[in-house]
Symmetry: C2
Subunit: 415 residues, 2 copies
């Protein structure tokens, strides 16, 4: 007997028929003797419908009130799924996050889980019940509902799995695993049966979109074995087969496996680049530029500071395209204060990264990447590197071309 | 400065445009210096949509899970209304029932409010905020969400008004007050500017449908001055005029007013009558018949036991038409046990009542009622009386005719 957490996305919960299929799948695991906790998302379209209503009333919805509204989609889902299981004769009970002690901070619409009290869930599991818990939400110290932001149900599932010390967290989604790159861009992209936590973190943060990045961080911090697998298969397929499908995010050093140098190509299409020109190069300049940006709750990704020439430097960073205008506005406001000569930007850029733990012990990955792009006539606008990834910023119109060329150059289409 | 509770029905909350109108109305009261608590219903159609989803999954939805789902409609409403007020620059905050200590019993889908902790609401009011609270719901001792059943938001509003010792509870609805009878049946039905609590109780319980009966009981028990008024008027109409519109449910002995003998004609169309024939007339017979019916959660209304003849009696009672088949089934199951010869029923009957506190000191109301019906050739199937009402059961096909004739006979069209 194992303790398993299942997470189902909005598409899997998209209609009452599909919810019945989810129930059949959950029942299969339960009947095999496992303890099962399920974290379903809102029915597809529902969160958008709710946010749409809010925006009809307030163009910039108040975050606390928006969370009050947006959190209801998951509450409906848990109730429906519990009923679908009860209709199959399985004991099931649903809970909203606040009912099972999921505590968050008060950053409405982008809250972080702080703690989970597992008492109630564990009690129900010990009584033989299937427990269904709302994803995406918890409550702060004053019992205000706070949501975790888009994709937050992944994080909820992994956090609950961590709190319960679950044997595995299964993230059922509409893709059947993590690919070497997006199959919509590269036809012969290949599914990986295993990926390390660190690689997954880079793949997720760089826009592979299979899992919310915070869920991967959670999985890493608490060493929760997490598997991404398809919810589109027959719910009654043999359990053994299902249990080994998809992609496992692994924490074990796998010495047997001949580690590929590069495991995947990740990309983010909607990036924007901002350059602050002619800044006096003195201590604290990065803080004075990025401080106000961070205060405006804008996430900054790549950061480059040029070599100083005659005490003056340029400072370049990227933000997601949706926050470009806001970031430009913030910087215009503090331009005088930081003593910059001007601020320029480009909102039509994309980021591409090659990711792989094997990179650590192999030289030449960077040069191969740059050469491949040069062969295609693609100009590199920015470069940033880490132990297991190299990212470049390029004009967005070359994005697909670059991904396909790199996927081929690193032979990711071959086992 | 007064403390006022507003309640808005689903029609008033039916679209984001209408919600903005509700906000304007609430803001008007707030700007006039009043403390305002608002209890909005779910947007019209929303509760039905949610129950429809549940029924697609489970024909007889599990009550606890149904409440989990159905309660979300109000949660969306409070968030939207709070935003609409914030958009007008008014400080507003929304709460679900559980966040402000609305405690109920565990009778899911038909729970009763047991207590309300006013600390949080009062704190916000004292800080100058408008407080929006979900109607229709609370939580039981184990923090399970429980709803109060259809129309429960009226009860929530009155209960919150009672807990806060509010000066008045204003129930905004799509009718402009309580009428002498249903204006759709009798064209010259007249709006009453005042009605006693007892009369309102009879009018509500007898199907006038303006207010949920439990809300009237609450208003009576806690002496909450409650006013039914229209939400369809211009939200910016003068506050003084609005404050005196509609119908006030009054608790004062009004000696100045020449009390009309009869204040209104109430009716319920969808009744059913069940007769248990040939029951041995011994102690406990009523209990043995009605016990199983009550256990099946079926509400019984009128009850008559015939004069016993040779130790055998007949026992007749009414239930709402929707529960007729269920009640017949229950009785067939215990027929042998109670020793009845047979059980017969009629599901095409309606109940009509004349209501008025003036009846107490006036004789002849009953005879006038019976004579009026006889003049129209309408046969009376059952009679039941109380201090302030006389009810008769008749064939449903005569219902409109009977209501019109009685309205005229008691001169309710005249001031």
């Amino acid at each position: 007997m194992a303790l398993i957490v299942h997470k189902y996305g909005g598409t899997s919960m998209g209609s009452t028929e599909r919810i019945k299929n989810v129930a059949k799948r959950v029942a299969k695991w339960y009947d095999a003797g496992h303890q099962v906790v399920v974290v379903p998302s809102a029915m597809s379209g529902e969160t958008n419908r709710l946010i749409g209503l809010a925006k009809e009333i307030m163009a910039q919805p108040d975050p606390r009130e928006l969370d009050m509204i947006a959190s209801t989609g998951e509450q409906v889902s848990v109730g429906l799924l519990a009923m679908a299981l009860l209709a199959l004769g399985k004991p099931a009970v649903s809970y909203a996050g606040w009912q099972v002690g999921i505590k968050t901070d008060s950053s409405f619409t982008k809250a972080r889980i702080q703690s989970i009290d597992d008492t109630r869930i564990r009690g129900d599991l010990d009584e033989g019940k299937i427990v269904i818990v709302t994803g995406f939400q918890g409550v702060d110290d004053e019992d205000n509902i706070a949501t975790l932001g888009r994709g937050g149900s992944d994080t909820s599932a992994v956090a609950i799995a961590a709190a319960l010390k679950a044997d595995e967290c299964l993230i059922y989604t509409d893709v059947d695993g993590v690919y070497t790159t997006d199959p919509r861009v590269v036809e012969d992209a290949r599914r990986m049966s295993k990926i390390t936590f660190e690689e997954m973190l880079e793949m997720a943060s760089l826009g592979s979109k299979v899992l919310q990045i915070r869920s991967v961080e959670f999985a890493g911090n608490y060493r929760v074995p997490t598997r991404v697998l398809s919810s589109l298969t027959d719910p009654l397929m043999p359990l053994e087969e299902e249990a080994n499908s998809g992609t496992l995010i692994s924490f074990e050093e796998d010495t047997n496996m001949e580690q590929a140098v590069i495991s995947g190509i990740a990309f983010t299409r909607d990036e924007a680049k901002i350059t602050v020109l002619g800044v006096p190069d003195r201590p604290g300049v990065a803080y004075h530029i990025l401080g106000p940006v961070a205060e405006a709750n804008i996430e900054v990704d790549m950061i480059i500071q040029n070599q100083s020439v005659q005490g003056v430097t340029d400072f370049t960073f990227t933000v997601s395209r949706g926050e470009y205008q806001k970031a430009m506005g913030v910087l215009e406001g503090v331009k005088g204060e930081i003593g910059a000569s001007s601020i320029v930007g480009d909102a039509k850029v994309s980021k591409i990264s090659v990711v792989g733990v094997g990179m650590r012990s192999h030289v030449g990955v960077a040069s191969k990447m740059f050469q491949t792009l040069a062969d295609e006539g693609i100009n590199i606008l920015m470069i940033s590197t880490s132990e297991i990834k190299i990212s470049v910023l390029i004009d967005e119109k070359y994005m697909e071309l670059a991904v396909r060329a790199l996927h081929k150059a690193f032979e990711l289409d071959k086992e």
